[in-house]
């Protein structure tokens, strides 16, 4: 069996002892004595563990990507390069990201600081920070309990996009495609990285009991929070042909292993529904690792991409040795956390049709306790198509957080069909949502709140799209729904 091979802070590593379920964070701290990287939560929610991994296939060219080392299993690094805070520089010879944090008093207790430095590190080399929200988004995956963030923001602004010409820039420029191929077993755990579809199908046939994994931002929690052992993982991450956004006849094909950050970069502008939802999705570190396929296949009722994509008439592309089949995305979710995937089948990608020509109003909403780095209380992808007379000819109102699966509001949609697109019609349809959903109360919100917000979002959608049919979000919106103000 193979060894784990990756480059850590410029040193080639050949690791043959660590069990495959080992997270990079534990490896760094416990086996490598690299304690600059901290653990604040082990669930991707604080950013203290942030490191940077070189992604040669990143949208926009090879780039260092900030990721949560607490959710990264060592085999996911196969063939890759990773740097931790220690490699950036030292107290005597700091990297600009480090110097900026020190000089701006970006640290108080200092515990969050190495992780923030790594997020700013990514920002240093980004060339696409052309809107202020992008820097917010870059940093919102890092919690700081001490500073109140103002000095961190100033530290980040001072160096973001400065593109220092240095070793890291050089390494990114010279990045070559990664060969992730791996079959690694230690301590009763196995991890396979097939790199071709054929190898993947063969593995799936040989190991029907295996769990699939892509970015691991969801699955790894079973290891880091529930302390489960996952004895056999097959990763789709390295399989050729599954990553990337490509324009195809009538729309786009979004590869299942495409990280959400890449989807945001590729389509956030062109499809405001996606751009809006991704703005509120997790945080930069999560979007750098988490994939579209993982988000859909985990089939969470509070997953954010399903409502957005369902409203856009997306189709799931299911792949297997037999070839591909397509199902409308709403039919992909068959029950609570259950998908239409058959044994031996994976999600290969998603087809999103081009809807630009239609008289379409579309937007996405996400309501949570905190706007950044939070899970939805209620989310929605809402789209209506009008005829020339202003009557609704198609309505797709998809909600998350309202039922056991991401679900369309059949009665509310029916109430709208054929009606003129007016406030009265929308308010009447909103009342029908009570027939479509019986939401639960939990620690994220009460049933009352969910039901009220769902109704209000529909009204908000009407008001918001009165002026702009497919609106983008402004910088730092107060709310997910933008009501025109005087």
């Amino acid at each position: 069996m193979d060894e784990l091979r990756f480059t850590l802070n410029g040193q080639p590593i050949a690791e043959a002892e660590a069990p495959p379920n080992t997270t990079l964070l534990n490896y760094l701290r416990q086996r490598r004595g690299l304690t600059g990287t901290k653990e604040g939560c082990a669930e991707g929610d604080c950013g203290a563990c942030t490191v940077a991994v070189l992604d040669p296939d990143a949208a926009g060219g090879p780039a260092w990507r900030a990721v949560n080392s607490c959710l990264l299993l060592l085999p996911m690094l196969q063939g890759k390069q990773v740097v931790t805070v220690e490699a950036l520089g030292s107290s005597g010879e700091p990297h600009p990201a480090q110097a900026s944090m020190a000089k701006h008093l970006g640290s108080q207790c200092g515990y969050c600081t190495p992780g923030i430095v790594m997020s700013i590190f990514e920002a240093c080399y980004r060339r696409d920070l052309d809107a202020p929200w992008k820097l917010d988004d870059q940093l919102c995956g890092n919690l700081c309990r001490c500073t109140g963030y103002r000095p961190i923001r100033e530290a980040a602004e001072a160096v973001a996009g400065s593109c220092p010409v240095d070793r890291f820039q050089g390494e990114a420029a010279e990045a070559t495609p990664v060969d992730m191929a791996l079959a690694y077993a230690r301590g009763g755990q196995r991890h396979m990285n097939p790199t071709t579809p054929e190898a993947l199908w063969a593995l799936l046939e040989a190991h029907p009991e295996a769990r699939l994994v892509a970015g691991g931002t969801d699955l790894s929690l079973e290891i880091t929070k529930q302390f489960k052992t996952l004895p056999l993982l097959i990763s789709v991450e390295g399989v050729a042909g599954l990553r990337g956004v490509t324009a195809v006849e009538g729309g786009w094909r979004l590869g299942a292993t495409t990280p959400l950050a890449d989807i945001e970069a590729a389509l956030g502008e062109a499809i405001p529904t996606l751009g809006r939802m991704l703005r509120f999705f997790g945080a930069r570190q999560i979007k750098n690792r988490g994939t579209l396929g993982g988000n859909l296949c985990t089939a969470s009722p509070i997953g954010d991409m399903p409502p957005a994509l369902i409203s856009l008439r997306a189709e799931a592309i299911l792949g297997s040795r037999q070839g591909e089949r397509r199902v409308p995305l709403e039919d992909f979710f068959v029950a609570y956390r259950k998908t239409a995937l058959a044994p031996g089948e994976i999600l290969s990608g998603v087809f999103v049709p081009e809807l630009a020509g239609l008289n379409l109003r579309a937007a996405a909403y996400k309501v949570s306790k905190r706007q950044e780095l939070d899970i939805s209380t209620v989310s929605a992808g809402l789209a209506v198509e009008l005829d020339d007379a202003g009557r609704v000819v198609d309505a797709r109102l998809a909600f998350g957080g309202m039922a056991a699966t991401p679900k369309r509001a059949a009665s509310a949609e029916a109430a709208l069909l054929g009606q003129p697109w007016t406030r009265e019609a929308v308010e009447a349809a909103a009342q029908r949502l009570d027939a479509d959903f019986a939401p639960l109360s939990d620690h994220r919100g009460s049933a009352w709140y969910r039901a009220t917000v769902a109704r209000n979002l529909l009204l908000g959608f009407y008001l918001e799209t009165e002026r702009t049919p497919r609106p983008h979000l402004p910088y730092r919106p107060t709310a997910t729904v933008q009501i025109p103000t005087p």
Binding site: T35, A42, Q98, Q108, D136
Partner: protein, 779 residues
């Protein structure tokens, strides 16, 4: 005390009162700063794991650890029976066993502790521990505790005037109930302690604690040895906020127990879920009040019954309740009053110190009354507050009869300056105009003054020590009893030390806080760290300088007793820097002359004391002041809201290090904002914390800090009798965030003009949506 001379370019310069970086800034940013869990440990070091009660209240019917003990890699499984000394970890009330005996009183209470060679082995062993508990009825809410009269300690009452008559005669009568929620500290570094066994039954304990002396005392008591056998050291914490004042003792004592049992180094580190489910939090409070106002907004009477949820043990609850009572007045004179406070015992984690220490919970009550009165009277939120400020005698007496010295009361000055600089009147008019036009989005502006008492209210604790060592090469080691948790205490102490000794900062090494350097210290808490330790450092340095002065005079060939300047690593006759000798030369000469180069310093706050039974006295050395103006926008469809601008003017006296103080003001405000708008502890009906990690417990994130965040320190305001004219800053700014409630109410009130707003706390989007719907229904 020295006064500041104007600085001449190029001349030697003291770092005091100047902007500076955090003393560890470069270590933080490079990842080189070391926290307990980062220390390399010798091979064989064991890791610990707490077996915690899954039941809120019950009788332990079976506890068997033999099977767990027998598992591979497990070194020991310790229960109460294995404690050689006293099984008590409480700070003073003796109601908190380190490991449960016979009964458990909350989910998360420690029952046993396992030491093994890995965390995974510990978890396996934990599953093998047989723990059976017969559940008993538990009290899980404050209301239940009040109904069942489940108290901790005695009631505490303050009175003045005839409150019933004054209320009856008041044209505006308000009765209400205020609830404020708990708050998890969420320091980014969870609890950690590492204990090394040393020779002759001694122990070295490295602990992430705000209170090394108490950790030392508790370890010694638990082990049944004298305190001199335990040395506790704290280099730095990754945040404390009060959560490491008493709570660290648990894990340190367990690690020490493990080290005793196994003769190996033992470490306990809590993961986030363990930290959140096993340690205490900010106290939830419930208060019922009656307030009488005159038609012009003057507060005539205020009657409050205030209840704190202490959790299952006393911990610091009674002191926290006291501070809540001491701050029921906030900044306002109250002619007629009765305040009664009661601490309640429930079967939840034992609540503990958290920035503000009851102060925020107390102030929230009178601020609610002020907001409601303003809404009823149609008065401006800022105006009604200013109307009630403390003033000249007789309006200068607090409810506990301490004088609020009019000469030192800077609140009017702060208010005037802040409202002017922040353009209050114009912005408020703009907002009212906006609100009149905008049906579903409203804005609000909330003004919040704060007066906060500085000193431990248990007067004995107001003492501190320092120990300063000069080596013969002129380098210096600085020790004091305070701990660094990010607040910048060490940066300030370095500035004082450099100033007093006249050395460069790079000549001083700030040592970890250690109980073998400075004994019997108080917790670094109550915002008092730099006031108390700063005076002690100053005293130690002055002693040393007095010893060095004659030596320097000899080297400089001036009269002994001639005026000398010690500055920036040089010593010279006053006004003659050209004649300087280096501090190192002076240190070397002193050594050769056989002069002691180490000195201690000590300080105790003078003239404070409080008569608890009478409810009168002078608990505070002085008051800190500040004010904030918070602007918000509220969305009526989702209840989402955002703070769009904050202006703060805060009084830190003559700041020791202004950049550090600004950081405390900003960080405190945002933490307060989290408490009031986001952070929600949700418990199951069985007393299990559901929001036990950042997935579900939401502290403020990057975008919650307003883009427009303007913090100013009040200039030209030295505080008499405090080190170098400075003032404490750690806690007071937290309460400035109460202004967000006034701001939200201003916005929501636009849907129901002339009627009070009913807004629950924390003002999450759901709570705000409820308030908005309620306002729209009435409006």
């Amino acid at each position: 005390m020295m006064t500041r001379a104007p600085h001449v370019e190029g001349a030697p310069r003291s770092p005091l009162h100047l902007p500076a970086l955090h003393e560890s800034a470069w270590l933080h940013a490079s990842g080189e700063a070391v926290y307990v869990d980062d220390l390399p440990t010798p091979p064989g070091t064991l890791v610990g794991y707490v077996v915690a009660s899954p039941v809120a209240r019950g009788r332990i019917t079976r506890l068997e650890v033999a099977a767990a003990r027998a598992l591979p890699g497990v070194a020991c499984v310790l229960t109460a029976a294995d404690i050689p000394g006293i099984n008590d970890i409480s700070p003073f009330s003796h109601d908190e066993p380190l490991l449960a005996v016979d009964e458990v009183f909350c989910v998360g209470q420690s029952v046993a502790v396992i030491f093994a060679d890995s965390a995974a082995r510990c978890r396996e062993a934990a599953k093998a521990v047989v723990l059976e508990i017969e559940a008993l009825p538990a009290i899980l809410t404050l209301d239940e505790a009040i109904a069942r009269q489940s108290w901790i300690g005695q009631p505490h009452t303050m009175r003045r005037g005839d409150v019933a008559a004054a209320f009856a005669a008041s044209p505006v009568q308000i009765e209400g109930e205020v609830r404020t929620g708990g708050q998890d500290h969420f320091y980014l570094e969870s609890h950690c302690a590492l204990a090394y066994p040393q020779e002759a039954g001694s122990y070295l304990v490295l602990s992430s604690t705000q209170h090394p002396s108490e950790v030392q005392a508790k370890c010694a008591e638990v082990l049944g040895i004298d305190r001199h056998r335990v040395t506790v050291e704290t280099r730095r914490m990754g945040g404390g906020f009060g959560g490491k004042e008493t709570q660290g003792a648990y894990f340190a004592a367990m690690a020490a127990l493990g080290a005793r049992a196994t003769r190996k180094p033992c470490k306990i580190w809590l993961n986030r879920d363990q930290d959140m489910t096993q340690t205490g939090k900010r106290h939830p409070f419930m208060s019922r009040y009656r307030a009488g106002f005159a038609a012009d907004g003057e507060l005539r009477s205020f009657e409050v019954d205030i209840y704190a949820d202490g959790g299952w043990s006393a911990d610091l609850t009674t002191a926290i309740l006291d501070r809540a009572l001491f701050h029921l007045d906030n900044a306002y004179f109250i002619p007629n009053l009765r305040f009664t406070g009661r601490a309640c015992r429930t079967h939840l984690v034992s609540n503990t110190a958290f920035r503000g220490f009851g102060g925020p919970q107390g102030m929230a009550v009178i601020e609610e009354a002020m907001n409601t009165a303003a809404e009823r009277l149609g008065m401006d939120y800022a105006a009604i507050r200013a109307r009630n400020y403390y003033g000249e005698s007789p309006r200068d007496r607090t409810p506990y009869d301490q004088e609020v010295k009019a000469a030192h009361n800077r609140l009017r000055r702060i208010t005037d300056q802040l409202l002017r600089d922040a353009d209050y009147d114009a912005r408020k008019a703009d907002i009212d105009a906006f609100n009149a036009q905008s049906p579903l989005v409203k804005r609000g502006l909330g003004f919040q003054p704060v007066k906060f008492g500085i000193s431990f209210t248990n007067s004995v604790l107001n003492q501190a020590g320092a120990f300063v060592l000069i080596y013969a090469d002129g380098s210096v080691q600085l020790n004091h009893g305070g701990t660094e948790m990010g607040q910048g205490l060490n940066t300030k102490m370095l500035a004082i030390c450099a100033h007093e000794l006249g050395v460069r900062l790079d000549q001083i090494r700030h040592m970890p806080t250690a109980t073998d350097k400075v004994p019997n210290t108080s917790a670094t808490a109550a915002s008092s760290g730099s006031d108390l330790n700063g005076m002690a450092v100053l005293a130690a340095c002055q002693t040393l300088r007095e010893r060095l002065a004659p030596v320097a005079a000899g080297l400089l060939k001036v009269e002994p007793g001639a005026a000398l300047t010690f500055c920036d690593g040089q010593v010279f006759p006053e006004g003659e820097p050209a004649r300087a000798v280096s501090f190192a030369q002076v240190a070397t000469a002193a050594y050769l002359q056989q002069i002691s180069l180490a000195a201690t310093g000590f300080y105790r706050t003078p003239d404070i004391g409080y008569d608890h039974a009478a409810g009168r006295g002078k608990p505070f050395h002085y008051y800190a002041y500040g004010a904030a103006l918070t602007e918000v926008e509220v969305n009526a469809l989702t209840g989402e809201h955002r703070v769009t601008r904050v202006d703060i003017l805060h009084d830190v006296g003559d700041s020791l290090v202004p950049t550090i103080d600004v950081g405390q003001v900003e960080g405190g405000y945002i933490q307060g904002l989290g408490w009031l708008t986001r952070e929600e502890l949700v418990w199951s009906p069985q007393g299990v914390l559901r929001t036990h990690s950042p997935d579900t417990y939401k502290i403020p994130a990057y975008g919650d800090a307003p883009r427009d965040f303007r913090v100013q320190l009040l200039q030209g305001a030295p505080q008499p009798d405090v080190v170098h004219g400075s003032k404490a800053v750690g806690e007071p700014p937290f309460m400035l965030a109460l202004g967000v409630l006034a701001a939200l109410r201003h916005a929501i009130g636009a849907w129901c003009p002339g009627q009070p707003v009913r807004l629950g706390v924390p003002a999450t989007p759901e709570a705000v949506l409820r308030a908005v719907e309620d306002a729209r229904a009435r409006g």
